[in-house]
Amino acid sequence: MNKEPMVVLLVEDDDGHAEIVRRNFEDCPVPSKLMRVADGQAALDYLYRRNDYSDPAKAPRPGIILLDLRMPRVNGLEVLKTIKTDAGLCVIPVVVLTTSEAEMDIAKAYESHANSYLVKPVNFAKFTELLKTFGYYWLEWNQRPVELK
């Protein structure tokens, strides 16, 4: 069976953190195609194929979105709300990946229908473990609706 690697859209303003995620995905045995945008506005442009992302080849539809919360311009929660209230986008699982452990952020994310909430660990081994587990769970084991296949 020749399965296309899943497109993962990483919405992350911090270059260092984006690089950490990229390295971990490269090392992950489950193949994936990582696309990164640097803030919420760019994420919406990507998903709606506007401005810099009007070429569909540059903005392949993601099978999952990894979303940071605190970002310039449009923040993660606003992106999440837009995705989950859009009939065409709401099926895409959104996993929040942030440094914030604030109860308020966790509550708001789930109220806005986040599919999962992960806190970036300060410890290297744990961060690596988290991203590996994420890869297995969301890219390998998790079943997607037909439109995301």
Binding site: G16, I20, P72, R73, V122
Partner: protein
């Protein structure tokens, strides 16, 4: 003891009780005419016994007791219930001004005869009301401060944690690569570590500066808008020259009273912000001024730069909020301005017709109003 003497005795007894009570007390007959009043009543309301006894209560002291609420209490509620407690009545009295009073009344059937008398006690709670209002205000202020502190802690902890994640992770990459003898990622990893450490240092500096606002109290001095504009333009002179910005300052004689350094920071940050977001404007301009709006002095710093979308108009004042991730600085400037304006009881907002249309930052500083100047103008 003769019955007469016993009557006189009990009257004296009653009167001495009435005169001992601190609250003003008045006794009315069933036609609402004054039978007698306590000493405190005369003192408090500044009326004489001769002009009081025998009068209809509403006619007392130039009819200043003709209060509709009191009429309702005495004529409708009391006959039905024979008593009322803690009725609050606000009224402006000729001699003593606006007062809030708590009224308590009893209607008593006299043993001999059929007539009824009414005991009316009046407690002045104006001061208490004022204190309560002040307390409520302070409590609200404290709640706001607390909320601000919580937001501050949240932001600080989140934004400081982020570079820590980067530093620790890339240090481990370096250790692993060193152990494996791989050197190709060294420079890149070091650059990430350096950038994160620099960011953390900036954040800490800015946090310290931000937390100092309002903690250090400096005696207020008088400054003019010209002083503020001069300081702001001098502080960002390099940027202004580099970008060829034309500046204009209006109504420079307006004066303010406050902490000179803090006040100057408002204009400095706003002018710096205006320079930073000038975009590709070929003829960049910044105008500093003040104008009266709705009876208030509204200060403004107007530019013809990149402007701002309506949805970001509140967000930009948040701590470490940046609209452009690539722009320099941590995103503290407007948060500082917001905080200082707040310390002077003012409001700040931004007006902009949209992207490319320039921005106008407007603010009020009621707590820094120069009262002497305002009074001088009236004369």
């Amino acid at each position: 003891m003769s019955p007469e003497r016993s009557v006189t005795g009990s009257q004296e007894y009653a009167e001495s009780i009435i005169n001992t009570v601190r609250e003003p007390l008045i006794i009315l007959d069933q036609d609402l005419k004054v039978i007698s009043a306590s000493r405190s009543f005369y003192t408090f309301f500044r009326v004489e016994p001769e002009a009081t006894v025998g009068q209809l209560i509403y006619d007392l002291g130039d009819k200043q007791w003709a209060i509709p609420r009191l009429r309702e209490l005495l004529e409708t509620i009391l006959p039905e219930k024979t008593t009322f407690d803690n009725y609050e009545v606000e009224h402006v009295f000729a001699g003593i001004g606006r007062r809030t009073m708590l009224l308590n009344a009893r209607q008593i059937q006299r043993l001999q005869g059929k007539e009824r008398i009414i005991l009316l006690a009046i407690e002045d709670i104006s001061e208490r009301k004022k204190v309560e209002a002040a307390l409520a205000r302070i409590s609200l202020e404290l709640q706001e401060r607390n909320a601000e502190l919580e937001r501050f802690l949240y932001t600080a902890s989140h934004d400081l944690k982020s570079p820590v994640v980067t530093v620790r992770t890339f240090l481990t990459y370096l250790e692993e690569d060193t152990a494996a003898g791989k050197t190709e990622r060294f420079e890149k990893d070091l650059a990430f570590i350096r950038a994160a450490a620099d960011k953390m240092a900036h954040l800490l500096d800015d946090l310290m500066a931000f937390s100092r606002i309002g903690r250090v109290v400096i005696p207020p001095v008088r400054v003019t808008l010209q002083n503020m504009a001069d300081e702001a333009l001098a502080a960002v002179a390099g940027r202004i020259a580099e970008r060829g910005v034309r500046t204009q300052v209006g109504d420079t004689k307006v004066t303010l009273r406050g902490d000179r350094i803090r006040l100057a920071e408002i204009w400095q940050n706003l002018v710096e912000n205006a320079c930073k977001y000038m975009g590709g404007q070929a003829e960049p301009r910044i105008e500093i001024g003040v104008e009266p709006r709705g009876g208030e002095q509204v200060f403004f710093v107007r530019d013809n730069g990149i402007g701002i979308e309506p949805r970001f108009r509140r967000k930009i004042f948040g701590l470490f909020e940046k609209l452009d991730a690539k722009s320099e600085g941590t995103g503290i400037g407007l948060a500082v301005v917001h905080r200082i304006v707040g310390l002077y009881g003012g409001l700040i907002w931004v007006e902009s017709a949209g992207p490319g249309q320039g921005s106008c930052f407007c603010f009020t500083l009621p707590g820094a109003a120069d009262k002497e100047q305002a009074e001088g103008e009236k004369i």
